[in-house]
């Protein structure tokens, strides 16, 4: 007899437990089954000869073994075997994990755990918590059939339940889903099926032009559909309203009698309800069929109830619902018209918030001129292959990424980098696809085409960011989710109150809705209570709550992309506005990372000669300091001479013969060894060294002639960026491997007082962690390659000046161009966007907080104020529109620094 444990999912009650027990015990060979409802597990005892569990025959990626699950996780950021050991330690500490093995060379970890105690999410969390990244497969699906934010939540729930899915974020505004999953456990087809099963449709996003065309077409179709619905429902609705109120305002004198006929009105209303209003009923049916309910139900119940009362009062006036004078056809028709108006305006404005992506996609030229067999031929851009020689004439857009092989020109890269000044390009320079060749003709070799081009990578990053959700939205979603059930409870309470108590206590025969000429005199308990109940349902629709965050995230990330700033997702956006410490790597970030000549000090000979001797001696050197001196001399127009007998003295300097003179260039030690008196230069040396510069003495024929100094120079906008950040109330820290004196000097030049010096590259992440432990939200700005661990450790990693391969960058924010002022812009944009989200949520909830009591008739007993369901619908539509309009104000936002 053997024992085994099996996971059982989907059990919700004691009855399920019994069913599973019964089913297992019915299997030949199973002697006993003990099913635990709480743990979702069944322990079986079986006869090995008669029964084969099959527990060891899972896929390579995932096996079940006696109640344990095994998963393989791909990990990024492991640099050595000790990283693997760190991961094993942190994952091994998790409750339920029985075995963990991290492989540094394969960049993966294999973990076995008890699924009742731990899960993939916990394991991935532990890995990421130790400073490494989990590499997941991700896909963006285009979703159709969503009508409100609640639909997005339904899809998230359904996909989130699938095994192998790490995260799912559905964006109602962009009609897309960003899903992070393990391809070993789950295929794309499985995800699409899960979405299709609950009544929506998912398909993979297309790349490039086809995607732009399809998206534009779909959006246009939706706009046109809602516009036609609006024209029909509003046209007929006005007619129905005039007919219903024919006896008021003297309308009977101008309107034909037939328009006031209830049967004619019924006919017209039927067209509205079954035409433009049909979408709400079919949406409700689709949802209910798959066990989901959404906003369509609110609309359908409202419209349906008003229509049925009208129909009953027309066909059978004696039914006791107010008789033939209370038909409510205008309510059903105008309710439909206003809800459709809301959907039409939403479709229009949703398109505007996603303009950034369309703008980026529109940058891609359609054709390229390539040289094949010595001839220029024009081919579609998708046919260009790596290695093709491409010709670009002045004024043309560069089709793909490449390296210039012939020609000289200036290129406008503003659409990609945000930099308005054209960049000069010559042979050997990299050029970016979608930028514009301004002046000269170019020939270049294509290095990246199709979805690998910088533009395609940027589009992908922005799309992914726009599909992701900041934590603030998760809270709003949760509230909106509970909100709907709360609204139904409220609608029931309102109905019961007005039916049993309110009607008798407060109703008078002269009661009328705001803006309505007709009194509700003949209305009975049921109809009156029902109308108020419908108003509550309609006015409470949390569509504006659902739009508040995604529309702002789309607009904010799009605005950032306009400035060459790629913000990878909503979380980065939300964290960026909370940053209170920002750490800059020194070399390559604050400074150019390349030494250049800064000072020439003479002692007894002209400065020009000091530099000429030093540079001529260094001419044969490949040392970066030597190259800096040679470049410095050349830039000053000094003619250099050929050096003879060049000799490098490691750790000290060089010796050479220049123009028949013996030249020594190096540190004090070199001079001492050669018996050269440097006392006269000592003050100058000390001063330069205190400024963080590397000073070298130049001796000519055994006599000290002067000093040349080189140093890493600051980037153009480093100081300005630091100043702005300090004004924004952010503590600025500089981190470097340089000695304290050099670091301090550089810090002083930049106005940075907090300097972390002599920090080895691997220690930078540790320094970030130390600051985080003090409760600060820390951003790290670095070059994205050497600083990758520190960028990953920081709350917000900002990779700067990455050039063209943006997809490979570590960091939650990527600055395409090498301008530190973009750090300020990124923080400003994130502050503005989160501010906009808060404003939107305030307005969205505000509408509901004000609207619901009015809809429920709270003001009626005091002021006789009652709002009809159709006015409630107008109020609701306006809330969505005002939220989106508020978001669109972000488009006009201009950062305070580095305005183009």
């Amino acid at each position: 007899m053997k024992k085994a444990a099996i996971d059982v999912r989907g059990m919700t009650c004691e009855n399920c437990r019994k069913k599973v027990t019964h089913a297992l015990e019915g299997v030949d060979g199973i002697l006993k089954a003990n099913v635990d409802l709480k743990k979702g597990r069944a322990e079986i005892e079986y006869d090995e000869g008669k029964f084969e569990t099959g527990l060891d025959t899972g896929t390579d990626k995932e096996k079940r073994h006696s109640g344990t699950e095994k998963i393989d996780i791909r990990i990024g950021g492991m640099h050595c075997a000790s990283c693997a050991s760190n991961i094993e330690k942190s994952v091994g500490q998790l409750k339920g994990v029985s075995k963990v093995s991290a492989n540094f060379s394969a960049g993966s970890a294999s973990v076995e755990y008890d699924p009742s105690l731990a899960g993939r999410k916990e394991v991935e969390g532990a890995i990421e918590g130790s400073g490494y990244s989990v590499i997941r497969d991700s896909i963006t699906l285009k979703i159709s059939g969503m009508t409100c934010a609640n639909c997005a939540m339904n899809i998230e729930k359904a996909v989130g339940r699938l095994k192998g899915v790490s995260s799912v974020s559905v964006n109602f505004s962009s009609e897309s889903a960003l899903i992070s999953y393990d391809s070993g456990s789950l295929g794309i087809a499985g995800i699409k099926k899960a979405i299709d099963n609950i009544g929506y449709h998912a398909e993979e996003r297309l790349e490039g032009e086809e995607a732009v065309d399809r998206e534009a077409r779909q959006r246009q179709e939706e706009i046109e559909k809602q516009r036609n619905n609006l024209i029909l429902s509003a046209g007929l609705g006005i007619l129905i309203m005039l007919g219903s109120y024919r006896m008021y305002w003297g309308l009977d004198r101008i309107l034909p009698e037939i328009l006031g006929n209830n049967y004619v009105l019924l006919l017209l209303t039927t067209q509205v309800v079954l035409g433009p209003g049909r979408q709400f009923f079919t949406g409700t049916y689709k949802g209910l069929k798959h066990g989901f309910t959404d906003m369509n139900l609110l609309m359908a119940t409202g419209i349906g109830a008003a229509y049925i009362i009208g129909m009953v009062n027309t066909v059978y006036p004696e039914a006791g619902l107010g008789g033939e004078h209370l038909i409510f056809f205008e309510t059903a028709a105008m309710l439909t018209a206003f809800i459709v108006l809301g959907r039409y305006l939403e479709a229009l404005t949703r398109g505007k918030t996603s303009e950034a992506i369309r703008k980026l996609m529109g940058l891609k030229p359609k054709n390229a001129t390539v040289i094949r067999d010595g001839k220029d031929i024009s081919i579609p851009i998708d046919d260009v292959v790596v290695g093709d020689i491409v010709r670009v004439k002045p004024g043309e857009r560069i089709p793909v990424d490449g390296i210039v092989i012939e020609g000289y020109t200036s290129v406008d890269e503003s659409m990609i980098t945000g930099e308005s000044i054209p960049t000069e390009k010559k042979t050997g320079d990299e050029i970016i696809g979608a930028t514009i060749n301004k002046t000269g003709s170019l020939k270049f070799r294509a290095t990246r085409v199709g979805k690998d081009t910088t533009l395609s990578q940027i589009i992908k990053l922005v799309e992914d960011a726009q599909s992701s959700k900041p934590p603030i939205q998760k809270l709003a979603d949760k509230v909106a989710g509970h909100f709907i059930v709360g609204v139904h409870i409220l609608a029931l309470v309102v109905f019961l109150f007005w039916f049993f108590f309110g009607y008798d206590a407060f109703f008078t025969q002269s009661t009328r809705f705001v803006l309505s000429p007709a009194s509700l005199g003949g209305v009975g308990h049921f109809s009156f209570a029902l109308l108020l109940s419908i108003s509550v349902l309609v006015i409470s629709c949390p569509c504006a709550v659902g739009l508040a965050t995604p529309s702002a995230v789309m607009a904010g990330t799009g605005k950032a992309a306009d400035h060459g700033i790629l913000i990878k997702g909503g979380e980065a956006l939300e964290l960026s506005q909370k940053i209170n410490v920002i750490i800059f790597d020194k070399t390559g970030t604050l400074t150019k990372g390349k030494p250049s000549l800064t000072d020439v000090v003479s002692a007894g000979m002209p400065e020009k000669d000091v530099l000429m001797y030093a540079a001529s001696a260094e001419r044969g050197s490949e040392h970066p300091l030597g190259e800096a001196i040679v470049q410095g001399a050349e830039s000053k127009g000094i003619t250099l001479v050929e050096a003879e007998s060049f000799n490098a003295i490691p750790g000290k300097g060089i010796s050479a013969e220049v123009d028949g003179k013996q030249i020594l260039l190096g540190n004090r030690k070199l001079m001492e060894e050669n018996g050269i008196d440097v006392r006269e230069l000592e003050n100058g040396m000390a001063k330069l060294e205190n400024e963080g510069k590397t000073a070298m003495i130049v001796a000519v024929n055994g006599k000290a002639g002067g000093i040349v100094a080189v140093a890493d120079t600051l980037k153009e906008y480093s100081k300005e960026a630091v100043e702005y950040l300090k004004i924004m109330g952010i503590q600025v820290v500089m981190i470097t491997g340089d000695n304290r004196r050099t670091a301090k000097a550089m810090g002083e030049r930049l106005g940075i007082t907090s300097v972390l010096a002599e920090v080895l590259p691997e220690g930078k992440a540790e320094e970030v962690r130390k600051l985080q432990e003090t409760g600060k939200i820390v951003a790290m700005v670095g070059d994205g390659i050497n600083d990758a661990p520190a960028l990953a450790q920081a709350d917000v990693g900002i990779a700067i000046g990455s050039g063209t391969d943006v997809a490979k960058e570590t960091g939650k924010i990527i600055l395409i161009k090498d301008d530190l002022r973009d750090v300020v812009k990124a923080i400003e944009i994130s502050r503005k966007t989160i501010g906009k989200i808060k404003e939107n949520l305030f307005w969205a909830f505000g509408y509901n907080i004000v609207g619901i009591p009015i809809g429920a008739g709270v003001l009626y007993p005091f002021f006789g104020l009652l709002i009809s369901p159709e006015l409630a619908a107008l109020f609701m539509a306006m809330s969505s529109v005002s939220v989106t309009m508020n978001t669109l104000r972000l488009k006009g936002y201009v950062p305070s620094v580095g305005i183009r």
């Binding site: 919700t12 359904a158 139904h488 029931l492 039916f499 308990h525």
Partner: protein, 65 residues
């Protein structure tokens, strides 16, 4: 709102019928309302309570299990 699984159908039905019955008894027992109003009122109560129960019960069952 909830995803109505088979296991939740029974409790959802019980709860909504209970609420509707309470309405029906109170309305018809008071003698104030005519039969149509009581009937339509019951229908509306049933619809709303079905939506409420279908939203609340699945998550309640999930928490319990």
């Amino acid at each position: 709102m909830g995803n109505l699984k088979n296991s939740a159908i029974f409790p959802v039905a019980v709860l909504s019928i209970a609420i509707t019955s309470a309405f029906y008894i109170a309305a018809s027992g008071s003698g104030k309302y005519d039969a149509t109003e009581v009937l339509l009122g019951s229908a509306w109560t049933l619809l709303l309570s079905l939506v409420i129960a279908a939203s609340v019960i699945p998550s309640f069952l999930k928490r319990r299990s």
